[in-house]
């Protein structure tokens, strides 16, 4: 059993508070991704779980045991570092066997494990080489192999793919995911890339400025963001945010945008009337409606990606994005009228950023 529980975690570096009251439960065998912008505290959190950073307040439990006082090597976890941290003077084989040697495994045991891991990752031909002679992708695999060889109950990943080129990154994403299915250990994965988070996680933990904004499966966070930050962080191109006010058009409540147009929104409760809101609509929820589209914009840039085409247009000084099929792509400087789909409207309170609808 290797569930991780974080309770009331605080951490400061000098006067700067880096983590504020973090509470999180990670289930056994779960692939949990910590994602957020630089400086949000995700790496610090990961390192605290590893034991590389001191816990100033709160508890960390792994497998039911409080590990605050345990040294990193006793916590039965393995970590893949951003720079891989391979020992440059040791061969691949020695790199893989080092931790087993340190834990005093028997020679033949080490031999078998290293062999198995090498085969799994396709490293068996490289065992005699040194890290300096390997490519980026190969080094990455050795770093993972080094973590796997000890059969730990928890895997920690600290932005392992950020040093790879785009194509390799896509490939490694699936490989890591695949490995996770096979090995089934609890994994905590830190990244700043929201695509990695979306594609790899069982659950995503979005962090910002030392607090957890939201936790949940990727699609749930995508469809039901708790606040503006989460909404803008996930999804590319990012969600469109339009300023407006909740008013009534006589019968129903809706949102009046800056250009005066009115968009009716189902399910608004009357206490919300007169509040300033930000209306969030994802690009694929913004459709071209030549007759009745309340949002009138001018096309600025058209980006074909091969399947869909993204259209960036200007609406009252703001840039909004929408998605069309490639055949229907407009041209630059065209005037288009857009309309949000009913399910695609998200309302956020303008001041607090919290989601209201």
């Amino acid at each position: 059993m290797a569930a991780i529980t974080l309770t009331n975690l605080f951490k400061s570096f000098g006067p700067v508070e880096v983590l504020k009251d973090i509470n999180l439960s990670i289930a056994d065998k779960e692939f949990c991704v910590l994602v957020g912008p630089s400086g949000c505290g995700k790496s610090t959190l990961l390192r605290m779980i590893a034991g590389l950073e001191e816990v100033q307040a709160g508890t960390i439990e792994i497998g039911g045991e409080t590990v605050n006082d345990m040294r990193p090597r006793d916590r039965n976890l393995a970590m893949v570092f951003q720079g891989y941290a391979l020992y440059p003077h040791k061969t691949v084989k020695e790199n893989l066997s080092f931790s087993l040697k340190m834990h005093k495994y028997k020679k033949d045991e080490i031999e078998t494990r290293v062999q198995k891991v090498a085969e799994t990752l396709g490293l068996d031909v490289l065992l005699g080489r040194r890290p300096g002679q390997l490519s980026g992708g190969q080094r990455q695999r050795v770093a993972m192999g080094r973590a796997m060889v000890r059969d730990p109950s928890v895997f920690l990943f600290d932005e392992p793919l950020s040093n790879l080129d785009a194509k390799l990154r896509v490939q490694m994403r699936t490989e890591i995911r695949d490995l996770h299915q096979r090995i089934g250990a609890t994994s905590v994965y830190v990244t700043h890339d929201q695509i990695e988070a979306m594609t790899m996680a069982d659950r995503i933990v979005i962090m910002n400025n030392g607090v957890i904004e939201q936790v949940g499966p990727p699609l749930e966070l995508f469809d039901n963001p708790a606040n503006v930050f989460v909404a803008t962080f996930l999804g590319a191109p990012s969600i469109n945010l339009l300023e407006g006010k909740v008013v009534s058009d006589g019968e129903k409540l809706g949102v009046r945008l800056v250009d005066g147009s009115f968009i009716s929104v189902p399910d608004i409760k009357s206490p919300l009337e007169d509040t300033s809101v930000l209306m969030g609509v994802r690009p694929h929820h913004l459709v071209v409606d030549p007759e009745n589209g309340p949002i009138q914009a001018t096309v600025k840039v058209v980006e074909p990606t091969g399947v869909e085409t993204f259209v960036f247009s200007e609406f009252k000084g703001q840039e909004i994005a929408c998605q069309v099929v490639r055949q229907a792509a407009p041209k630059q400087k065209d005037k288009i009228r857009l309309s949000p789909t009913k399910e695609g409207i998200l309302l956020f309170d303008k001041t607090s950023g919290e989601r209201v609808i």
């Binding site: 590389l52 040294r71 990193p72 976890l77 570092f81 080092f98 890290p131």
Partner: protein, 297 residues
Amino acid sequence: MLYRVKKAPWFFAALILPAALVVGFLILYPVINGIYLSFTDASPLRQGALKFVGFENYTYLFEEEVFYASVFNTSFIVFVSSALAVIMGFLIALLLHFGVKRFAPLFRALVFQVWVVPWICVTILWGWMFNKEYGLINYLMTATGMTETNMDILFDQTGAQWVMIAGFTWRSIPFLMVIALAGLQSISTEIIEASELDGARFLSRIGHIIIPMIRNVLMVALLLDSVRFFQEMTLPLLLTQGGPVNATMVLSLFTYQLAFENWDFALASAAGTVWLVFIIVVAWIVLRFGIRKEHVK
């Protein structure tokens, strides 16, 4: 590469000329000339043509007890000093890097002042500290009960050698410490953390990870320092004049005395040539077996 010699030969020549002149006349020529002289009977006291005497000077040297003593003494003193200096320098660097991180620059600067003190002053000081009646060392030893009466350390054969070693080591530690510190700082923290997670205890980390990674740098520094020690003459010259009973007769002093006190240039050149060969052999051994070429970062 910016230039090719063929395309800008005058520029190249102009750049190299000053250095080439100095090195040519004052280093290269003297070495070659010295080797040549070792096969003659050269001496400034004797005017006239040089007579070629073959290996006579060398046979003389190899039968001379003082010569063997100086080679042995020099090797012993230099080896021990270098070893001590590298070990202590490394340990202090470890201390600074992992224990006292914040003040490392300050400590480093302070310690480095030691290097600035001229040898001549160290000599005077050493002479005083090891003085029989009033020296600090004697005082410490009797006060802490290590010995009962004052010892004339400089008058004792082994004692005198250790005084030399103390001087050399003392002078060298800052240098090696700075090198070791730089080496330690070049090891990324990630690697240390990775080894911690891999289960390595403190000593294992040092032995398995740190030392292999900075070993080359230390070896080179060690070699450079040893070579420097071989040249060092001030301490033995002033304190013991090579005594007692040739215990601190080092090769440099020996050669110098032959050349400029006995004015026997030929014999001195022979001694110098042996010294040169000796150094080359030692350097070759250290580089061959001490440095790992396959270390790629």
